[in-house]
Symmetry: C2
Subunit: 197 residues, 2 copies
Amino acid sequence: MVRTAGSDGVKTLQAIRKAGVKRIYKHGFEAMKLRSLAEDVGIQAGSLYNYIRNKEEFLFLLLKEVLEELLEGLERELAGIDDPKEALIRFINFHLRWHTARKEEVFIGNMELRSLSKQHLQEIIRMRTEYESRLRRILERGNEAGEWSVADPQVISYSIIASLTGVCNWYSPRGRLSQDEIIAIYTDHVLGAVGAR
Amino acid sequence: MVRTAGSDGVKTLQAIRKAGVKRIYKHGFEAMKLRSLAEDVGIQAGSLYNYIRNKEEFLFLLLKEVLEELLEGLERELAGIDDPKEALIRFINFHLRWHTARKEEVFIGNMELRSLSKQHLQEIIRMRTEYESRLRRILERGNEAGEWSVADPQVISYSIIASLTGVCNWYSPRGRLSQDEIIAIYTDHVLGAVGAR
């Protein structure tokens, strides 16, 4: 993520990123050795520094890119939606699809914040807060429109996000329920919780 | 957790356990060195083996003891409660109090399952499933009694537990809301979600 000249460089960087996610997911960030990461992608340990400045920055950029994609995805999902109930349904749908598709990155994003520098941690928390605030705003708009009456939109936005993200812990594409069935169950549950079933 | 003769042994074991939780919480299980753990409690690295058979077993016993206490606590909380709504309210109350009081152990319990042996992992999952099934049974009993109508008690039990456990991520005793206020918000939210507000 430092110098990446040409398409080979981009491919190598993608491979490093992918291998990094797998290693951190499996063993934890602190236990990850850069030498092992270089071996995973078939390059010399020294060459790794063409792509990564250091371990901590690698983690930061990994988490940052994931959050950027998450925020952009949500932006597209909610574009032009004024109705709060419709926006809430779309948020649930988007959050569940995105998080079940990227379980490993979600896990790392929740676990390895402890290994970030103070400055990088603040930046990541700022982005997470931005994402959470989209849901909070939807709940507030529903309050204003008389669609529902949520006493504490901030706490309830945390509650909804935690409940949806929890699906990562047990969801399997080969499980009892399809993704669409799960989304239907959670949508009904959340609409009931806010009083808009 | 192997040989613990006399009260000094028990105290040392408790100190090892406490130091272990802090280390795993901060750096991750794989990055924890037994030598550092011995230093934390002021004993020789070799003496540690009077208390711990090996690292993996230490983690297993740590998680197992936490789950045993959790299950026993819930048992006491629900003893003699027949009414499903009352049982649900008590479950929410108990889960929130217990998890906000023991954030570090909760974090480890959610993160470090990857480091357990297959047999130990199965044992821990069995205990977690037992805990989750108490909530599922409450939801089922509410269905049977006509108290509410929850379409998929298993999924909804996961959803409720994830949403409650999520409070660990942001709760602070010095925060905007007291523990009682948080419990009131979540109770109302969950009762709404199952249709029993």
